[in-house]
Symmetry: C3
Subunit: 264 residues, 3 copies
């Protein structure tokens, strides 16, 4: 693997009150003391695989090639779901095969089921594979063990249901897939779809109690407290309220529908 | 001390909104720039010494030998409670003598009261010993100052009251000592006690509104939404709800009683 | 710049659930892999510039000289507010010119508007200057690019309104400028002002439902559950409740008035 990264990132739903995250870091540092540990997020909502997948999709490929991304949102720990190592575009991912990597796997990937016990903690528990299986795997991978050594290659990852937006001549019917820390509503509608609608002429965007007649280019275009539609930093349509919390002020929750309707 | 660790861990109730944690890190890096700083948790509930002790017990000994664990849950800051450096099984601990280390001290230990002011910040405040006393002590310890240099050895740590479970032929009477991020109920009943009850035959486990007739081995054994008793990753009896929050769904708080009763 | 620090600190209102903080860290590590990344706080309340300024004031100057402080609380992202690099007393600051640095700028400073696009990500977004402008600037600054290279020097930073306490022969009229994680009420009244009142004789301190007749020196002076006035670790008058939450128990919010009144 690339030697220009000594980085292991962590993406978990472990929270920060317990010893769970630090247990994984301790195990890693015991194997490869020079590892650089970077938290992506340990505050993924408990067992929300879709939220973990969204964060990984936006963060992982910004890191230097050769980075190992340890990702544990694992409601099925101890069941038959497969533990994995995956390589995608020079980045490495270690975690459960439950859909957590499905937003990454639009690119070409090589996936291996972790079956070789040589690189695991002895007597792994049934309830904390993060500490006993995934952390030591990530550490050994970073220290140079080739990905093929962890187990047998598998043809396909489990793919999580992710509602694709409906896109036709009438417009786009999508959903709110994430509400961020500011209350911004992030949709599953990519910028390219919006471009197609714009090319056909006037349109309106509906979400909750808000109606918008156009896309704003910057926050500077939006009066304080007014809802606005923008293309956000993740490349998706977002509805925001300038200096306000759109989720609260528009009473919109994750999963709500959002429509872009072409005007005659 | 062992030179194979450059790690200082942090366990505090300082939270993450204020400058308190970073003030300690800044002081450490000013003394030993190559220190590796690993947060165990800075979200211990305010002044909850027992919660801090629990996290330390489960995280500390996973780290490489020679690691320095800086632990500050210190409701008595500025009072007569002693500032300490403790060595246990090749790990070092720095913090107040208020019970924070009592779950560690089942092993043999050497404890020293910090009385030598050479290694402290000048004019330490009365309210922030983390920054002015404990952080510089941890940094100097990591940089090679011998533990004996910080002050005089003391024979015994203050031991915090920790309710031990009652274990007899009828069964076990214990308590919930921690509720984790997922709402799992972690008891003070160790796996060995449960083993003794199992060896005698059938039993039931009672906590809140839940009754369980057996121990589950993995989450795979438990239907979603059903309570189950397992031996958790900390080696204690836990009651969990698969893909649910046991504390909320069973209305069980920290301190609640939990019973394991042998059946005739 | 000083070569004795490889540190970049982060102070943001990004929260810890999203990928925003890690996106900045990824960009930095892509430019300068050996950077040491220290979170000051990523839990500044959303868009609360004053809270960010307070945290920076108390943390920044504890770090080794040459540290780069990346600070992004930026409600005006994408508007005409200037992106800045500032040097104050051997420390470097990167972030928006919106008042975030005004509590630091009591010392002499040199400030530069970031106008040179050589050091930015190509095609910066309008909504995430943290990732596209400030993080790469911080990284290049740490890697040795001189501060003058980023743009033209500007004479003055924008200064945020910070209510100064009124101080006369009757006493001091101030406000609560921060409530910390423990519920301690931190005022805008510096220790020197209190000293002047003490020198004149007896006084009382009023805040919410509490009245105090003196300043306590340590927590040891204060019975549990009683409110007390102390000079806190930031050098300001604080009202605390020993082993309790003063904000909750006295019903005092940020912005409340606090008075120190000389007695005849």
């Amino acid at each position: 693997m690339s030697s220009d990264s000594r980085i292991i990132t962590l993406t978990t739903d472990f929270g920060t009150q317990d010893y769970y995250v630090s247990a994984m870091k301790a195990v890693i540092l015991g194997i490869i003391p020079e590892a650089r540990l970077i938290d992506v997020s340990n505050d993924i909502p408990p067992q929300d695989i879709m939220a973990g997948a969204w964060v990984l999709r936006n963060a992982a490929f910004l890191f230097p090639k050769g980075t190992v991304h340890l990702a544990v949102v694992d409601p099925g720990v101890g069941t038959a779901r497969r533990p994995l190592v995956v390589e995608i575009d020079g980045q490495y991912f270690v975690g459960p095969d439950n859909g957590l990597f499905s937003l990454l796997a639009e690119k070409e990937y090589r996936a291996f089921e972790i079956t070789n016990t040589d690189y695991l903690r002895t007597n792994p528990s049934n309830t904390f594979h993060g500490r006993d299986i995934f952390a030591p795997t990530a550490a050994h991978l970073l220290s140079g063990v080739p990905i093929e050594a962890f187990g047998k290659q598998i043809p396909e990852l489990i793919s999580y249901r992710w509602a694709a937006p409906i896109n036709d001549q009438e417009g786009i019917q999508g959903m709110v897939l994430h509400i961020d820390h500011y209350g911004n509503l992030i949709s599953n509608i990519p910028a390219e779809y919006i471009q197609e609608v714009e090319d056909r002429g006037r349109f309106k965007i509906y979400v909750g109690s808000a109606i918008m007649n156009s896309l704003s280019r910057t926050f500077a275009d939006v009066p304080d407290g007014e809802p606005a539609a923008i293309i956000g930093s993740s490349g998706m349509l977002e509805v925001i309220i300038n200096k306000g919390n759109a989720s609260e002020m528009l009473s919109v929750q994750k999963g709500a529908s959002i429509s872009v309707v072409s005007q005659k």
